[in-house]
């Protein structure tokens, strides 16, 4: 199961930038694939997600918990086995993910929720 992959589905170039940041920090490349909804209707975005996932398994990291990126990702996950969806993608959850890919998509999604949530803090003045 070491080939679990992460697909980041976002508006504009958010996904691309996150992939570049993870590579810059960890040196790990190829674990994450960016998908942008730029210029996409529902069908085109579904196709981009499908191309990025390939044979799977995969975790879909989505920017917002609603909207075209989310609806397309959730629909894809409903139609395919071995796909989990996490919303509110951030750099912290991706950094954790690339080092822990020997788990099931569901387990990786739970880890992402945990790592991503813990990274959101308000710094004391």
């Amino acid at each position: 199961m070491s080939d679990l992959r992460g697909i980041i589905v976002s508006h504009a170039a958010v996904a691309q930038a996150l992939v570049a940041a993870v590579a810059a920090i960890t040196g790990i490349e190829g674990a994450l694939t960016p998908v942008s909804n730029e210029g996409c209707g529902t069908e085109a975005l579904a196709q981009r997600i499908s191309d990025a996932v390939g044979p799977g398994p995969a975790v879909l990291f989505v920017d917002l918990p609603g909207g075209s990126c989310f609806t397309s990702s959730a629909r894809y996950a409903k139609q395919h086995a071995d796909i989990a969806v996490v919303t509110g993608v951030n750099l912290a959850m991706l950094l954790d993910f690339v080092f822990h890919r020997d788990v099931s998509p569901d387990e990786a999604a739970r880890r992402a929720l945990d790592a991503g949530s813990k990274a959101i803090r308000v710094t004391a003045a």
């Binding site: 210029g39 529902t42 609603g66 609806t71 959730a74 629909r75």
Partner: protein, 157 residues
């Protein structure tokens, strides 16, 4: 107030609609007119997830929408009516003559369509249907976000 926006957008409910138009218009309800979504609870849950709790979402078939349109137009709140494609817009306008305008907000690339605007791709048949809609007195313009210029139908069909 009324239905402030009649919009054709193949993404249906998404950020541009909820935030881009919803905020400046102070929208408190969205009517999604789509026969397929209307018949699927799962799809309805999916579209509802992208909407803050302050905005009510209603789902309607074309027939239901034609029937209820006057009620929504008479609503004291501000709403947006959404359809996913040109055929649905035409079907609604045919059954409900009170439809006076349609905003083309997003019709994206697909085989057989050519680029008309950055966010509007149409087949010849679709362009013809929009011109016919306009000829019948429905004001048709293309505009993705409120800050953009509304492009008259003649310029993109």
């Amino acid at each position: 107030m009324t239905l402030a926006l009649y919009r054709i957008d193949d993404r249906l409910i998404h950020g541009q609609v909820v935030v881009g138009w919803g905020q400046p218009l102070n929208v408190t309800f969205i009517v999604l007119v789509d026969d397929e979504v209307r018949s699927s609870d799962w799809e309805q849950d999916l579209y509802r997830m992208g909407v803050p709790p302050t905005i009510e979402v209603r789902f309607a078939s074309v027939d239901e929408a034609a029937h209820d349109l006057s009620t929504w137009e008479a609503d004291s709140r501000v709403g947006i009516l959404l359809v996913g494609d040109i055929d649905t817009a035409v079907a609604l306008a045919e059954r409900a003559p009170q439809v006076r305008r349609f905003n083309v907000g997003g019709v994206h690339h697909r085989t057989g369509r050519t680029e008309r605007l950055r966010f509007v791709y149409l087949s010849e048949d679709e362009a013809k249907k929009l011109r016919a809609l306009s000829a019948r007195g429905v004001e048709v313009t293309a505009q993705d976000v409120p800050t953009a210029r509304p492009v008259p139908v003649a310029e993109f069909t």
